[in-house]
Structures are given as structure tokens and as C-alpha cells.
């Protein structure tokens, strides 16, 4: 806990200036912590997640990690060397059955042991949707607190990757945000990913962490080597501003940071960029404070428009901040079609579309 308060203090010194690499539709903006305070190491996101799981398995002797192909390191190399270090009875492959994996994980967590279950791609989570929504989310409620699967964490790679097409690019956070009883988080980079995963593992509620797969290699930051947790249910204000609030999560945060830069340069608009981090429960207070301050809100996400999580944010903000809003809340999202194969560049809410929408609400 002390570590997390330290982190919050340090995060106020975040500078996002050095641009790492330009990949597909976004440019990565690394989070930089204040220098010289803690022992750091340059890691990309899958290394940070690997580190988090290593620490999690070390600190909790009941922790198990399982999923499809995690034994040899996983398809994204997040579980490299863990089987060698902790043994086959703690890090093991499951057969190809997502519903089985989810049900099994819930059972493990019910006994109090920590379960870290990996669903290989978010697009495959649907067979386990029933288990997560009907069992995991409702266990504590229906048993009156007698049983709960709080020591359960799902790790699910999600999001567009440039060539994923229909079934390797989906962002299903909206489906799970609709289920009370769950926690849903999405990191934007290695530092966040490590902290969030450790927080999810320790959190006494079933958590799902959706990891944007395109950031596994693209996102490189100086990550603290010790064990630390990020606060769940809190969003991060990455850049302070006065004119417009830009809200996003995961990969989209980096698109919005670039849009903020462009807006400053081209239109002299000061944008406040917020990473939502926690989709369920989301930080209503910080977001509403920001909306009240700027009066204009733009929400961006890769998932389709209708019933995307942006609709929940928009509905809530307009209810709480109606009189302080200067323009309708704008959502820039993926289209209402299945995630396309060759049309991906036109589907994603890239910086051009976001900037156009920004101009629209500023000139409202």
C-alpha cells in the first residue's frame, strides 16, 4: 500500500515526450517516472507482465497460472521461463476449451487459491462468457458472501494489431462492463500493466485484464523492478488541459496523446488526456471533474460504436455535468461492422478522425 501511494506521488511527475516508434495507426508515448528514485529496468509490455506474474507466483504460494500454450512461454511470450521456475504443477497448459478454463479457474479461486487464467485472444472469450458472467460475477452475491472467486484474474490479449482481421482484433470490454461483480482493467504500457496485474491478483474480486496485444512489443518503458500495484478503479490524467477532455484506454490513449499534440500545434487547443485504466468500476469523480472543467468531451475506443463503452461514459457525463457542457459529447469509435480484414485502416479511430471530431466539438 505504501508503494502505491509512492507511485501516485511519482505519477504526478509524468512526462510523456520521448516518442519510441511509429507502428500502424499509433505512435507510442512512454510513461516516464521521475528519475533516480527506484530501481528500474527497460522492459516491453510482455516482459513487464512476465515480471508481474513472476512476482505474483513468488509472493503467493497458492498461485497457479494456466491457459492454452502458456507452458512454453505463451504465444506472446508473457509466461516465459515461469514453468521452469515454478514447476509444472503451478504453470501448466490447458486443453483447448475456454469454457473449461474459465469454469476451472472459478473453481480454483473458490477454494481460496489464486488463479491466473489466460484466454489466448479476447475473440475466444465467448465460450467462457457464461462462466464469467453467470458464475464468477455472481458467486459472492448469491452465496451471501460465503463463497467468492475473488482470487481470480483473467489475462486476455485484445485489440487491433494491424493484421488480425475478424477474430484476432476484437475489444470486448463493453460486454463485461455490463456485468456487476467483475473488475475490468486495460493497461496502456508496461509500467501500468505490471502494476495492474499485481493489483488484480491481490484484489479480492474477480478481475479481467485486457492487454492490448499490439503494445506487447511496441511499448517499452523503464519499469520498476520491485513489486508494486496500481490503484484499481482510478483513471490517470496524463496531460492537464483546459479546453477539451480526451478519454481513451489501451492503445487508443497513445492516439489521443498524438491528437492532443496536433491540436496544440495546429489549433492552439489545450487538451486534457485521460487514460480510463479501469473500465469497471470506472472513475466517475475524476472524469466528471474534468468534464466540468473543460466543458467538452471526446471519447475514443476501437470497439464498435453502438453500445461501446463510450456510450456509458457519455450517458453518465451528460447526466452529471449537463449544465457545464459546451458541446455534445463526441464518440470516435470503430464502425458498426465486424472487424474487417483489408479495411482495418479505415475502421480504426485513428488520429485523423479524432482530430476532425475535436474540431467539430470545439467549433460547436
Amino acid at each position: 500500500m505504501k508503494v502505491s501511494t509512492l507511485t501516485r506521488g511519482l505519477l504526478s511527475a509524468i512526462k510523456s515526450n520521448a516518442i519510441c516508434s511509429t507502428r500502424s495507426h499509433f505512435t507510442y508515448y512512454p510513461t516516464k517516472l521521475a528519475q533516480g528514485v527506484r530501481d528500474v529496468q527497460k522492459m516491453n509490455m510482455f516482459q513487464a507482465i512476465n515480471n508481474a506474474m513472476d512476482l505474483g507466483l513468488e509472493q503467493d504460494s497458492s498461485a497457479l497460472l494456466f491457459g492454452e500454450d502458456v507452458g512454453f512461454g505463451g504465444v506472446f511470450r508473457c509466461s516465459m521461463n515461469l514453468r521452469d521456475k515454478y514447476g509444472k504443477d503451478r504453470v501448466f497448459n490447458t486443453p483447448l476449451c475456454e469454457q473449461g478454463i474459465a469454469g476451472f479457474a472459478i473453481g480454483v479461486a473458490n477454494t481460496g487459491a489464486t488463479a491466473i487464467a489466460e484466454i489466448q485472444f479476447a475473440d475466444y472469450i465467448f465460450p467462457s462468457f457464461d462462466q464469467i458472467v453467470n458464475e464468477a460475477a455472481k458467486y459472492r452475491y448469491r452465496s451471501g458472501g460465503l463463497f467468492d472467486c475473488g482470487s481470480l484474474t483473467f489475462r486476455v490479449p485484445c485489440g487491433a494489431v494491424g493484421h488480425g482481421a475478424l477474430y484476432h482484433s476484437q475489444s470486448p470490454e463493453a460486454y463485461f462492463a455490463h456485468t456487476p461483480g467483475l473488475r475490468v482493467v486495460i493497461p496502456r504500457g508496461p509500467i501500468k500493466a505490471k502494476g495492474l496485474l499485481l493489483a488484480c491478483i491481490k484484489d479480492p474480486n474477480p478481475c479481467i485484464m485486457f492487454e492490448p496485444k499490439t503494445l506487447y512489443r511496441a511499448a517499452v518503458e523503464e519499469v520498476p523492478t520491485e513489486s508494486y500495484t496500481e490503484e484499481l478503479g482510478k483513471c490517470d490524467i496524463l496531460r492537464e488541459g483546459t479546453d477539451v477532455t480526451l478519454i481513451g484506454w489501451g492503445t487508443q490513449v497513445h492516439v489521443l496523446l498524438e491528437v492532443a499534440d496536433l491540436a496544440k500545434k495546429q489549433l492552439d487547443i489545450d487538451c486534457e488526456v485521460i487514460d480510463l485504466v479501469s473500465v469497471l468500476p470506472w472513475d466517475t469523480k475524476t472524469i466528471c471533474n474534468s468534464a466540468n472543467k473543460t466543458g467538452r468531451v471526446l471519447i475514443a475506443h476501437e470497439a464498435p460504436f453502438t453500445q461501446g463503452f463510450g456510450s456509458e461514459l457519455a450517458a453518465y457525463i451528460q447526466e452529471k455535468c449537463f449544465l457545464r457542457l459546451e458541446a455534445p459529447i463526441k464518440r470516435v469509435t470503430g464502425w458498426d461492422t465486424p472487424f474487417p480484414h483489408v479495411f482495418e485502416p479505415f475502421y480504426l479511430p485513428d488520429k485523423h478522425r479524432c482530430l476532425a471530431a475535436l474540431k467539430e466539438i470545439v467549433n460547436y
Binding site: 492454452e68 476449451c97 493484421h163 484476432h168 460504436f305 480484414h341 479505415f346
Partner: protein, 421 residues
């Protein structure tokens, strides 16, 4: 079973008749020069198709490896007839799939193919043998390793390679990509593991209801064999006696996990419990064809059946998987040397003298030319225009004119018109 022998006898008797008529012609003073002759060495060759087959050569071949049966007394034929035309056709198809996969890999490395690309190199015999047994009324539904199956079911090489490259001449007009290829009677092409088997059960039910006499083959792999919905389908199919064949292409690895690490029972042909099953050597085209023919008959008369094709893939799970982190290179090499489906079939053809070396060369060249043309088409054809971002989301009649939730592009609901190759 008697049908097979009847066919063989028919062919043999035709052969006999030919021989007799030759003899008679000689007797009535016709010179040998006037008789039709087989190709002599050194004689200029024309393509197989142009050559008039002198005699419909047929041979009887014994299947190398026995079938294993589960809850069955009688199994598929172990002695099968093979005609010269069939041999040439199967070999051509085997080579075509091998070349097609090589072309796909080539295009992927050139980054013309984006997305995921799952090659079936090494599993050609399963596809060729299955499709050799299919009749016009039968259907096929499979997972994602389907380039070869799509090609055999009518997608053409241009259709497959262009689809990979996302061009409008692809078999799904470029909207599906590697995993979503479709053709008449071939329902794809599915990315979600195991989902296709439930579809297959539905297709089989429709066949039964409409009395088409067709049988549905639902293909899945050893990894998918552990999905819950497969077992749900076993139950439904047996309960309602659906004309369906469950085909498990067991290539021993579910991506990075070996079959024996994923399944408590690796005898996938017995996994249906009360459903009868057949284990087939999947690297032998004739064995697969024999089993498929048997399965069609069984499915029509008695009900569902499981066929396990024991096969192997040389490439990794997909182009992003080198395929060596969970198995040794030596293992792959060993299978390539000893159990390669093309080498085995080629050897069989030569051993029984149903095809000559020269004919094999012509087939090779033929395949090479077809694939070259397809690669060029994949490279140079045009993609679908942007207006098709929103085509085929809904059927046109059921919703409003403009696509909801697509701003700025002003797209209407439309149907991607199939571009003829």
C-alpha cells in the same frame, strides 16, 4: 463393399474386351500399325488431357496400414481400385496443394498477405482423399487450415491466393482472408476453434430434413477435440441419427501443445463413446478415400461416424510460429522422409505402373503453371473499394438504407458482388 469390386470388375472386363477385340482385329487381317498404341519411349508427348487413353488402366491397391475400428464390425475397404485417371488427378491435386501452400508462404513473406496464415503442408492427403469421395450432394465444413480444401471444393488457385492477399478476385471477395474461404458445398473456413462442428450438425440436419441424401463432413483438429461443443454435437447427431461424419485431423499438435499433453484420451476416434469410429492413416490418399466412401455409406444408412485421420503438419501452426519450440526439427524431418503423402502416393503410382515418370513430370509442370498464374493474380488484382467496408453486414431488406454507426463514409447496406475469375 461389393460396389467397389463391381466397379473394379467392370473396368477389368472393359480391359478384357479391349484385348479380345485387338486379337480379333488381328485375325481379320488388320495390321498392328492401325491399332491404337500406348506411348512409346522417345515419342513426342502431349498433355495428359489431350492424350486419348488407350485403355482405362486400373489396378488394385492394398492399403498399407490397417484401419482401427471402434464399435464397428466391418470397416472400410482395404483393397481399393485405382484408375490411371484417378491417380493422375489425385497426384495433381496433392502437388497443387503443396505448391499452393508454398505460394501462400511466399506471399506472406513478401507481406502481401497480412493476417494469419495457417498452412496445411504435410496434410494434403487428408484433403485430397476426402474430396475424392465426396459426391455432388455432400457438404464440407472445416476449421482454419483450409487453403487446400477450399481449392479442392472449387475455389480455384486464384480464388485462394487472391483471398489471402485481400483482393476482390478472392473467393470471399477479399473480405475474409486466410481463414474464411468458401465454395459451393464448402461452408468454410472458421476462425473459432470447434465452432464449425456445431454448424456441421445443423447442415446435416438440413440435409436429412430436405432428403437431399447428402452427408456433411465436419472437420476439426486434435486441439478442437477438447472443446465442449464437439461433445454436444456427438450427442445431438447420434440422438437424431444425423447423416454426419466427424473428421478429426489429428496432426498431433494443437498449436504449441502436443496431443498427449492436451487430451486424456488421444484415440480421437473413440471419443464419441457410443458413436462408432475409424482410425485412418491420414498420409495415405487411398486410405482416406476408402474411409470417406465407407463413412458416406454408413452415415446415410446408420447415422453419424467419427473418422480420425492421423496426419502431420510440417509448418508451424501459422506463419508466426516457427514450429520448433515445441517439437524437434528431427521429428519433422523424419516424417517428411518416411511419411510424406506425396512421396508415398508417387511411389505407389510408380510401383504399380499406373503412371510413368514422364506423366509425373507433365503433371508437375501443369501445377507449376497454374500456381504461377494464381500468384500473379494475387499480386496484381485490385482490392475491393472502400464502399465495401459496410457491405454484407445485414441482408439488404431487413434494415434501413444507410449503415448505422458508420460516419463520414456515408455507406449504404450493400452486397459485395462476386467478381468472376
Amino acid at each position: 463393399m461389393p460396389g467397389m469390386y463391381r466397379d473394379a470388375l467392370k473396368l477389368l472386363s472393359a480391359h478384357m474386351r479391349q484385348q479380345v477385340s485387338r486379337m480379333l482385329q488381328r485375325c481379320i487381317g488388320c495390321t498392328a500399325a492401325k491399332l491404337p498404341r500406348p506411348l512409346a519411349p522417345g515419342q513426342p508427348e502431349t498433355s495428359i488431357a489431350e492424350q486419348k487413353p488407350v485403355v482405362q488402366e486400373v489396378r488394385l491397391v492394398r492399403i498399407a496400414m490397417d484401419f482401427k475400428l471402434h464399435k464397428l464390425e466391418l470397416g472400410p475397404d482395404t483393397l481399393v481400385a485405382l484408375t490411371a485417371l484417378e491417380a493422375a488427378l489425385y497426384l495433381r491435386q496433392l502437388l497443387a496443394i503443396r505448391r499452393l501452400e508454398a505460394a501462400s508462404a511466399q506471399l506472406y513473406k513478401e507481406r502481401l498477405v497480412r493476417g494469419f496464415c495457417h498452412l496445411s503442408t504435410g496434410q494434403e492427403a487428408c484433403a485430397v482423399g476426402l474430396c475424392a469421395a465426396l459426391r455432388k450432394e455432400d457438404n464440407l465444413v472445416a476449421g482454419y487450415r483450409i487453403h487446400g480444401l477450399a481449392y479442392l471444393m472449387g475455389a480455384t488457385a486464384v480464388g485462394v491466393l487472391s483471398e489471402l492477399a485481400g483482393k476482390s478476385t478472392g473467393c470471399a471477395q477479399g473480405k475474409g482472408g486466410s481463414m474464411h474461404m468458401y465454395a459451393p458445398n464448402f461452408y468454410g473456413g472458421n476462425g473459432i476453434v470447434g465452432a464449425q462442428v456445431s454448424l456441421g450438425a445443423g447442415i446435416a440436419l438440413a440435409n436429412k430434413y430436405r432428403e437431399t441424401g447428402g452427408v456433411c463432413f465436419a472437420l476439426y483438429g486434435d486441439g478442437a477435440a477438447n472443446q465442449g461443443q464437439i461433445f454436444e454435437c456427438f450427442n445431438m447427431a447420434q440422438l437424431w441419427k444425423l447423416p454426419m461424419v466427424f473428421v478429426c485431423e489429428n496432426n498431433n499438435y494443437g498449436m504449441g501443445t502436443s496431443a498427449w499433453r492436451a487430451s486424456s484420451n488421444t484415440d480421437y476416434y473413440t471419443r464419441g463413446d457410443f458413436l462408432p469410429g475409424v482410425w485412418v492413416d491420414g498420409q495415405d490418399v487411398l486410405a482416406v478415400r476408402s474411409a470417406a466412401r465407407f463413412a458416406i455409406q454408413y452415415a446415410q444408412q446408420r447415422g453419424p461416424l467419427i473418422m480420425e485421420l492421423c496426419t502431420y503438419r510440417y509448418a508451424g501452426h501459422s506463419m508466426s510460429d516457427p514450429g520448433t519450440s515445441y517439437r524437434s526439427r528431427e521429428e519433422v524431418q523424419l516424417v517428411r522422409q518416411r511419411q510424406d503423402p506425396i512421396s508415398r502416393f508417387r511411389k505407389v503410382c510408380l510401383d504399380i505402373s499406373i503412371l510413368s515418370e514422364q506423366q509425373l513430370r507433365i503433371i508437375d509442370q501443369n501445377v507449376h503453371d497454374e500456381m504461377e498464374k494464381a500468384i500473379q493474380a494475387a499480386r496484381h488484382d485490385a482490392e475491393l473499394p472502400l464502399s465495401h467496408l459496410g457491405s454484407d453486414v445485414y441482408s439488404h431488406s431487413c434494415t434501413e438504407d444507410k449503415l448505422r454507426g458508420v460516419f463520414g463514409h456515408n455507406l449504404e447496406h450493400s452486397k459485395a458482388v462476386c467478381v468472376k475469375n
